[in-house]
Symmetry: C2
Subunit: 219 residues, 2 copies
């Protein structure tokens, strides 16, 4: 019974890992579409989104099968419930990458971003993609220390996001209100994407140790 | 066994209902703080947020107890898993109301909103609070038709949100970039709040009928 649980749980985590990869790839390409006003890449991201929904249904089916067939208790039960929550987090990451691609498409052939803030988005995009990769990794390894490190990249992304706002609020901003609205929304999408990656890390800590990150780091 | 399940599920839904009420009250008062630049009310919303976290933990404990003690199958299992997802939705609604209160506090004693867009936010606030009330109601009644009606209020709110953007993007916008950034974020918070209320309605349809809203409305 126990070995069947372990095997099925590994299968569930494998699907979650695939989902993270899709979400990370989507954010990578959305960022490319945004920075280069590349309509083809934006359309590809939008067209590929359906794959995430398919995997999401598959992951939930596996989690339900674990709940129904293995009659798990205590820690196992909590790990499976975390699985459902991780599905929701990755779905949201994919939706946020999709929002970025849609803004790139809406502004094409113009660039949505003024040149001045390109660097911020290139770096926020890089961090977001790294976080999706790391989330995938810790879903696989179930290493709680590595899972907690997702917080560091999130801190770096939040710093960039704050600096971006000082650029926007500066009286020297010359790009008008429409660009400011786009930059505000886009910044928010990257910030939320990385928040969800941090949540995945927190849930992995819980899956692996039965403790919240706060309890775990107190030890 | 079955009657114990029904009783405990009703208790879980009662906690979820209380959570909806807290989230709705928070959004009502945040909107008031925003429109009137009322610091006291903003602080009250911020201080009350902790209550939602307490109820959230209680709701998750009840859902775990249902999973562990009742060894539920099929439909019951799906209803309990929906319970966890509803907890996450309401938590997010509370967090979004909190964001509104924090912007009101940050701009105090000034008003965050230019007079010109007050009407939009008054109406988006009214709709958002109505949706939280209706979400609470359908959690209690488990009426799938009423649960689906949450979509109508969301459509109305999305319309307002779209109009708000046309006001922002208008060349006549005279309130500068900083106000535009606030209005953009605030609009997004109301929109996401109502999205989560719709999701609760969808989950109630699933709890009550075992069908997705799409399957249910096809019948």
């Amino acid at each position: 019974m126990r070995s069947a649980y372990i095997e099925q749980m590994a299968e569930l985590n494998a699907v979650l890992g695939q989902m993270c990869e899709l979400a990370g790839t989507a954010m990578e390409r959305s960022t490319q579409a945004l920075l280069q006003a590349d309509l083809t890449v934006a359309e590809e991201v939008i067209g590929a989104h359906e794959q995430l929904t398919v995997l999401s249904t598959r992951a939930e089916e596996r989690a339900f099968a674990l709940l129904a067939l293995q009659a798990p208790v205590a820690g196992d039960l909590r790990a499976i419930v975390s699985g459902f929550q991780i599905v929701a987090d990755i779905e949201r990451m994919g939706a946020l990458a999709l929002h970025v691609a849609k803004i790139a498409r809406r502004r094409h052939p113009a660039k949505a971003l003024p040149e001045e803030v390109n660097g911020y988005f290139a770096e926020m995009g890089r961090l977001a993609v790294t976080m999706a990769t790391n989330a995938r990794e810790v879903l696989n390894t179930q290493n709680p220390e590595d899972a907690l490190k997702l917080q560091d990249d999130d801190d770096a992304l939040d710093d960039l996001h704050r600096h971006l706002f000082t650029v926007l609020m500066d009286r020297e901003w010359k790009h008008g209100v429409a660009a400011a609205v786009d930059v505000t929304l886009l910044g928010r999408y990257y910030e939320r994407f990385s928040d969800h990656a941090v949540l995945i890390g927190r849930r992995v800590v819980f899956q692996a140790t039965g403790q919240t990150p706060e309890q775990f780091t107190e030890v």
